[in-house]
């Protein structure tokens, strides 16, 4: 009973349960957030290892360490783990849970027990995916997109993997509706919609995408299972079905899904840049609005994944046009961030460096996306390493670097201790260098015509592939330094107290680490989220 506790007891010293049960059955949003952080980040590291193996295989032409079947399984599992087990659940699950309820001035999310159920469903789904790798016909080899007809015919364990992803989708829907309800109903007095921190705004847009897009993935995966187990033939041309319908259904979900991955990342950047520029955000309303615009427009562009699959010219034209529309709200954000920096008093600490590199890497990724969105150029680079490079610029350079920024920005608040600054900067420099060496090279390789998803390639691509693999090692070295630094710092580093960075959002007004119920009494919000002058006044 929290009422029996002294005021301001940190959420680390909570509850009657003991040991691990105090965590895995806790309905405290901060504990659930940390559960998500540990579990999703664990899968991130698994995905990194698989990615490194892929790069080692590609270090030289011909078979290096694995054969074609193993290579197919490796890139499939890399994709499934990174997308469904890491990026999709990590931002809403980890930082959404940790920060959002405090940012709106609430004691917890609207449905705390449902929140715990979401995490459990995520873990159950993840375990099922893991089991699918080692049982039945072995790890799926279809690519993370599970395209029919191959996914309906391959002897590998696609059905079970797909079922695991289905369960994880359930978890995403519950998180989404929980967050929408929380943001609508639990804002503290004075927390008007135009005082909502931009990270929370981005989570709000994300939650709508989670709620509206994920059911389509669910039914699509059910249909793949039915195709395999019952022989329904709905995607089988010999039986009157159409494999293109699978691609439509899959991308109706999976294109909006990339906005589940990138929108919260943009929210993190919108929160960090003003704090480290000592200047209110430029264009608050436009940034908030552009999150909703990206979520809405992004739901109508799925066809650009299928330009080469067979579509009418009209459809290609419409999808291409809509794809370019998405670039507008994205550019609004980038220009507003840069305008916030202008004449700011910029301090280049670790969260800020990650945030700044996000702007650069996301811009490269976004602009290369336009090359793919234009049908004429897409035909040439479709299914090449250019796509792989583009996707990693947006997802890793974008979401990944924003995730690291969020770790350096918010985790000290929740642990009460901080990491050392110099290793953090070194880690950032290594990762930034390695990242560009790896993925820019991939884009060049794609332009030269190297296809993706092959374990072998023509000899003329050898030197660039070697360069990319070396880049992956530099990136991994930076990652290791970052992790060791964070791990040591958060456990035994210098105490982190008060509000050293001068953030004006509510999470910086509570004790460090936050108390179980977040606020001693319900806060009255009197200033905007980036009103650094107003925050000192009563």
């Amino acid at each position: 009973m929290s009422n029996a506790q002294p005021p301001q007891a940190s959420f680390w010293n909570d509850t009657g349960r003991s040991g691990i049960a105090a965590w895995i059955f806790s309905t405290d949003h901060k504990r659930i957030g940390l559960l998500y952080l540990y579990s999703t980040f664990g899968f991130f590291l698994t995905g990194v290892l698989l990615g490194l193996l892929l790069r080692i295989e590609l270090i030289a032409p011909g078979r290096t360490i694995v054969g074609p079947q193993t290579y197919n399984a490796l890139f499939t599992v890399h994709g499934v783990v990174m997308i469904f087990l890491f990026i999709l659940p990590s931002f809403p699950g980890a930082f959404g849970n940790l920060v959002m309820p405090i940012q709106v001035g609430a004691r917890d999310v609207a449905f705390p027990r449902l929140n715990l159920l979401s995490w459990w469903l995520y873990i159950i789904g993840a375990v099922i995916v893991l089991v699918s790798l080692f049982t039945g016909g072995g790890a799926p080899d279809t690519g993370w997109t599970f395209y029919v007809p191959f996914s309906a015919r391959t002897g590998t364990n696609v059905s079970l993997a797909v079922f695991g992803v289905f369960i994880i989708g359930f978890s995403a829907i519950l998180t989404g509706l929980n967050f929408i309800t929380t943001i609508h109903r639990l804002r503290a007095p004075g927390m008007t919609w135009d005082r909502l921190p931009l990270f929370t705004w981005s989570l709000y847009a994300t939650a709508w995408v989670q709620v509206l897009a994920t059911p389509i993935l669910a039914i699509t995966l059910v249909l793949v299972m039915a195709e395999r187990l019952l022989g329904t033939g709905l995607f089988d041309p010999a039986r009157g079905g159409d494999p293109l319908m699978y691609q439509h259904l899959f991308w109706i979900y999976s294109h909006p899904a990339v906005y589940i991955m990138i929108l919260p990342a943009m929210g993190v950047i919108s929160d960090i840049i003003p704090v480290f520029s000592r200047k209110p955000i430029f264009g608050y309303k436009m940034i908030a609005f552009s999150s909703l615009a990206i979520a809405a427009a992004g739901s109508l562009v799925w066809g650009h994944h299928m330009f080469t699959s067979g579509m009418s010219d009209t459809a290609v034209l419409v999808f291409s046009f809509l794809t370019f529309i998405v670039a507008i709200p994205s550019a609004i954000k980038v220009f507003n961030w840069v305008s916030t920096l202008y004449r700011g008093s910029i301090s280049l600490e670790a969260p800020m460096l990650f945030a700044l590199s996000f702007i650069l890497l996301f811009s490269i990724g976004g602009l290369s996306g336009l090359i793919l969105g234009a049908a004429a150029t897409d035909v040439h680079v479709h299914d090449t390493h250019f796509v792989v490079g583009h996707f990693h610029y947006v997802m890793f350079g974008g979401s990944g670097f924003a995730f690291f920024a969020a770790m350096h920005y918010w985790l000290p608040k929740f642990y009460g201790r901080r990491y050392a600054e110099k290793p953090a900067l070194l880690a950032w420099a290594l990762m930034f260098t390695g990242f560009n060496l790896l993925y820019f090279t991939m884009q060049v390789l794609g332009m030269k015509g190297m296809p993706r998803r092959y374990y072998d390639y023509l000899p003329e691509f050898a030197s660039l592939n070697l360069l990319a693999t070396v880049g992956s090692w530099i990136l991994a070295a930076g990652l290791v330094i970052m992790l060791v630094n964070l791990f040591r710092g958060l456990r035994g580093g210098v105490p982190f107290e008060g509000n050293p960075w001068g953030g004006a959002t509510l999470e910086w007004s509570v004790a460090t680490p936050p108390p179980t119920e977040n606020f001693e009494e319900e806060p009255l919000v009197t200033h905007g989220p980036y009103d650094f002058e107003g925050m000192g006044k009563p």
Binding site: F111, P215, L249
Partner: protein
């Protein structure tokens, strides 16, 4: 405890409505497939649709509409604090659900007896459009039937809550949300029935 002392009724309903949206979209994917394949195989769909017995479909429609009425009356009874009537009305709904599933069972087993089921030899050798129609029919009504079963179990659990007094005149949001879910199950059938039994 971390739960808030007072309940947010509006919030609980908002959450439920969002969940209902997701259910609509889940079935929306199947209706989308129906639309595309109907455009492609209008004649085969018509031939196959006539093989379904519209009287059974109509009977099930009446049963589900009655069950929705019954659960709505359960909510009103809860508002008035008439616990026994709440349980009786929910009982009526569950009875309807059982009736619906029984008719569904006879419908399905008759079709399966005639060699019409996904992947059957008869469908494989017949026109492709009919195979698509029956695959969609089985998946759509199958997932809907699953929702009927889940809804009935949910309502049974809520009836137990009502008996123990946890659902009462001042706190009946659980029943209200359960009833909303049941109406959704009904609503989806209202679309399935004409699409598969009537319009073809």
């Amino acid at each position: 405890m971390n739960q808030t002392a007072h309940k947010d009724y509006f919030g609980a309903k908002l959450g439920m409505w969002l969940f209902l949206f997701t259910e609509l979209l889940l079935f929306g994917g199947l209706f989308l497939l129906y639309a595309v394949y109907l455009k492609r195989y209008p004649h085969e769909f018509a031939t196959a649709g006539r093989q379904l017995d519209w009287t059974l479909g109509a009977a099930n429609t009446v049963i589900l509409l009655t069950s929705s009425l019954s659960v709505a009356m359960a909510v009103t009874a809860a508002q008035r604090g008439e616990t026994r009537r709440v349980m009786a009305m929910i009982g009526g709904t569950i009875l309807c659900a059982a009736g619906f599933m029984s008719i569904k069972y006879f419908e399905w087993s008759a079709k399966i007896g005639h060699g019409i089921y996904p992947g059957s030899e008869q469908l494989k050798s017949g026109p492709p459009g009919e195979s698509v129609f029956f695959s969609l029919y089985y998946i759509t009504t199958g997932i809907h039937g699953l929702h009927v079963v889940i809804g009935a179990l949910l309502l049974a659990w809520i009836a137990l809550k009502a008996r123990s007094g946890a659902v009462n005149a001042s706190d009946y949001i659980l029943l209200e949300n359960g009833a909303l879910y049941w109406h959704l199950v009904d609503l989806i059938w209202i679309f399935i029935f004409p699409l598969y039994y009537l319009v073809l």
